[in-house]
């Protein structure tokens, strides 16, 4: 770092050190464009894990394609902003010949499209989350989890504003650094936001009490009790019991990759959805894995079906279960 002039007055820097700094700026632009594009694709892959409905998957793949095209196009455009490419960091000394694109216009277009895609990616699942049959409080929580991308959008707008300011100021280096920092923060925030759903599972796994305080889960010790109370199944209260939890996995070809997110307890999103399965609007696209609790008591076996409260007919094909948030 010292070699590149860190901590030294720039007037004392040699020409190659200045060129190095400009070269790093150039590389930073390319990393920024690529990183943001891939982060949107990652979030869309996450949607594919959660939402199994075919029409939504097609829509998601389409947006993913647009994001991919955006990433490739602006990667190339940024890379080829000057001809020869080295003009991007060599031009400052006026000793090199070549030409560059209108960097400002290019930056604004890239930022505007990026903001539009951010909004699209964030808004994509909202309609289907709103259609979920769950309590308003829980629904708002789920939508909030999917809506944290608003922070990325806000930072994108701030960055675009700093880019516009950059083009109209005499204090150019300072303002460019400002835009560069917002670019960095945007990537970092998009990573954090993209990882949040997994964090929720981690919290639920290791700190179930904390989770219960935020209303997402509680009372692990009451596991299964609500199935009993809601399904009107007669169960002996005296016999020792041994429970086995079963999950019916999806059978369709393209659903093999669906991943059962860890089932926390009977107040989890999955359980809530399962319990309300009879009331569920078929348009709701998050579908819970159906759980069957088999309870053995002495010589008798009581089977409870969380779906309809009736004994499960094992000769029939299982109802299809999907993943949940």
């Amino acid at each position: 770092m010292v070699k590149n002039g860190l901590g030294r007055d720039i007037w004392t820097l040699k020409a190659d050190q200045i060129t190095n700094v400009l070269f790093y700026y150039f590389l930073g632009e390319i990393f920024y464009v690529t990183g943001l594009g891939v982060s949107k694709i990652s979030i869309l892959f996450f949607y594919l894990r959660v939402f199994p409905a075919k029409s939504f998957r097609i829509l998601t793949y389409s947006v993913m394609g647009v994001c991919g095209v955006y990433t490739v196009v602006f990667f190339v455009v940024t890379l080829m902003q000057c001809r020869p490419i080295s003009m991007a960091w060599d031009q400052w000394d006026g000793l090199h010949e070549g030409s560059c694109n209108n960097i400002h216009l290019q930056g604004w277009i890239a930022a505007a499209i990026n903001i539009f895609l951010d909004v699209v990616v964030m808004a994509l699942p909202m309609k289907h989350l709103a259609a979920l049959n769950m309590g308003i409080k829980k629904k708002v929580m789920v939508m909030s989890m999917f809506g944290v991308g608003i922070f990325v959008v806000v930072i994108s707008v701030i960055r675009l504003e700093s880019l516009i300011h950059f083009s109209n100021t005499q204090n150019v280096t300072w303002d460019y650094v400002d835009a560069g920092l917002w670019s960095l923060i945007e990537i970092d925030v998009s990573i954090v936001c993209g990882c949040m759903p997994a964090h929720r599972l981690l919290i639920a796994k290791f700190w179930p009490k904390i989770q219960s305080t935020i209303g997402a889960s509680k009372a692990l010790s009451t596991k299964g009790s609500k199935f009993n109370s809601t399904n009107n199944t007669t169960i002996s209260s005296t016999a020792p019991e041994k429970s086995v939890r079963l999950s019916i996995k999806p059978k369709a070809k393209d659903e093999n990759n669906f991943i059962p997110l860890d089932d926390m307890d009977d107040n989890s999103d999955r359980a809530m959805l399962t319990k309300r399965d009879t009331e569920r609007d078929s348009r709701g696209w998050i579908v819970a894995t159906h759980e069957v609790e088999v309870t053995h008591r002495n010589a008798s076996v009581v089977t409870e079906n969380a779906n309809d409260g009736k004994p499960q007919d094992w000769n029939k094909p299982p109802m299809m279960g999907r993943e949940h948030v």
Partner: protein, 72 residues
């Protein structure tokens, strides 16, 4: 400039926690979204380092970049 490094550290920690949720038999399965996010994390690291390299230019308002940007 410390913001750049701090942001990258927070992002890396977020990704590590994400992958921690996949540990164990009952952990969430690793999939394409994890792979692509891992790529993003890798991509986010170099610019953070670059800001540290380029600290001088932000503290000294000298216009080499001005020349470079306006001559196109």
């Amino acid at each position: 400039m410390a913001i750049g490094i701090a942001g990258a550290v927070v992002a890396i920690l977020a990704f590590i926690l994400r992958m921690a949720a996949s540990i164990g038999k009952k952990g969430r399965q690793v999939s394409w979204d994890d792979l692509t996010m891992f790529i993003v994390v890798l991509i986010a690291i170099p610019p953070a380092v670059f800001t540290h390299f380029c600290k001088t230019i932000s503290t000294n308002l000298w216009p080499p970049f001005h020349l470079q940007r306006y001559s196109g």
